[in-house]
Symmetry: C2
Subunit: 301 residues, 2 copies
Amino acid sequence: MNDSVLVVGSVAFDDVETPFGKRENALGGSAVFFSMAASHFTSPRMVGVAGKDFPEEALTMLRQHKIDIRGLEIVEGKTFRWGGVYHENINQRDTLYTDLNVFADFKPVIPREYRQTPFLFLGNIQPSLQLEVLDQIKDPKYIALDTMNLWINTKLDDLLNVIRKVDLLIINDSELTLLTKETNLLAGLEKLHEMGPQHIIIKKGEHGAFLSYNTELFYSPAFPVKQASDPTGAGDSFAGGLMGYLTTCKEIDFTTLKKALVYGCVMGSFVVEKFSTDGLTQLDQKQIELRFNALRTLVTI
Amino acid sequence: MNDSVLVVGSVAFDDVETPFGKRENALGGSAVFFSMAASHFTSPRMVGVAGKDFPEEALTMLRQHKIDIRGLEIVEGKTFRWGGVYHENINQRDTLYTDLNVFADFKPVIPREYRQTPFLFLGNIQPSLQLEVLDQIKDPKYIALDTMNLWINTKLDDLLNVIRKVDLLIINDSELTLLTKETNLLAGLEKLHEMGPQHIIIKKGEHGAFLSYNTELFYSPAFPVKQASDPTGAGDSFAGGLMGYLTTCKEIDFTTLKKALVYGCVMGSFVVEKFSTDGLTQLDQKQIELRFNALRTLVTI
């Protein structure tokens, strides 16, 4: 049995419109996308909150993917809802609304049986809550962190506190610039390493991702898909593939992190091809390996 | 002695301002950047036009790099001048002025001694002139083509005529969309192949470049530089490195084109680090190989 990974993040319903279609009440949220992607490598443990409107079928679907949802609280009220429209250039989107609902009062409680989980992914929630999660976890082997522009702009001190405590920081290129005031990748990475993490991943969406391992660089392109139907959840699925793969590794070194990054790109590519989590539900190991190998072949002379 | 490559393109003076500095009267133009980059692999042949104001030192500099400038006409009038300002986001620029001067009446005449050059690069000039060049060349082994949005918008029929006749089309991602109406890379490449070329390279600037070799894909990231001081000439230097390397190869197959693309990325990275052609003047073969190997290592697990 592989090690497990614990994710703390959002559980949501999304109303999404892209140039390729529209989907209402789609299951989403960082904890969901992460878990669905990681479930192809291990049995992930999810901590999050949903409202009484969260349907039984969704719970069943998560359980069918061997996701341990004992940490998913169902409380009085409505589940977090997000609505957005993606532009013709699918890298740009407008948020139509963000109804936090039960997520507004989310206080992550890590169930006793989760507290020794070796791998931890701090999904994009308020940094003070991420700190509370860290306080409840015992001797984690490897901690990865995601965040967003909102927390960089409004909760920087807390965020820097979390960043100092994690092994791997995963952010996108605009967040790199926001956090370091550097537009140059190398200059930005240098500053990020000074903030604490030995491992940093810079996501560039369709332009792939960089890994800086104690300042040594690795890069993988994104897997070129025929149609990116819905980018929602790409970053969390990337993190789920990455952390999921790491749970299968004896050691976490530069080589395993490189492979993990490629698996992250693979899982990100599957999720964007379809709406919601649809790209992650029917996958088998063979399809994942095929795409991993194709991504390696793509850069091999 | 390697085969040679003939370039037909512009010769210019640029007034450039970027967030990292300013340079006036800088030697530029597609034929100049291409030749300077290619000169590290072979002795390139240049066809272009300059005015009487073109200084002797510039001619000397080109000759010192073993560039054959018998095809560079010096005519009554002023040399082409371009002025531009790059934004904080160095991928965006505003053109301040374009004074075509002697370039307005440019009619490329290929000197007799150039007519059997095996490799030909049609730099970004009016498609009808590119067609005239093709008429003057005898049994070329390999033809590559660059173009721009202006010709896609205003001279599409001529351009499609040229595209049909070349082996390799080199364009950037926004031109891909303009030419094919496709925002998706794979869909766009499929349409471009239908237009004629068996080999297509899509440049994505700092995000690297794709090669489609009869629809088989290869990708290389751009070399991450500490400071991109001046992107002017990056595309032409890329093409110069690529075609320059090809002149050293016995066969042009998928493997040699992959390597050529990486050499293109290498030469592009050197030119953007400094203003004008400065990044290409003091290079030696060892620096080029170091960066080639570093780019390979960057994607190697």
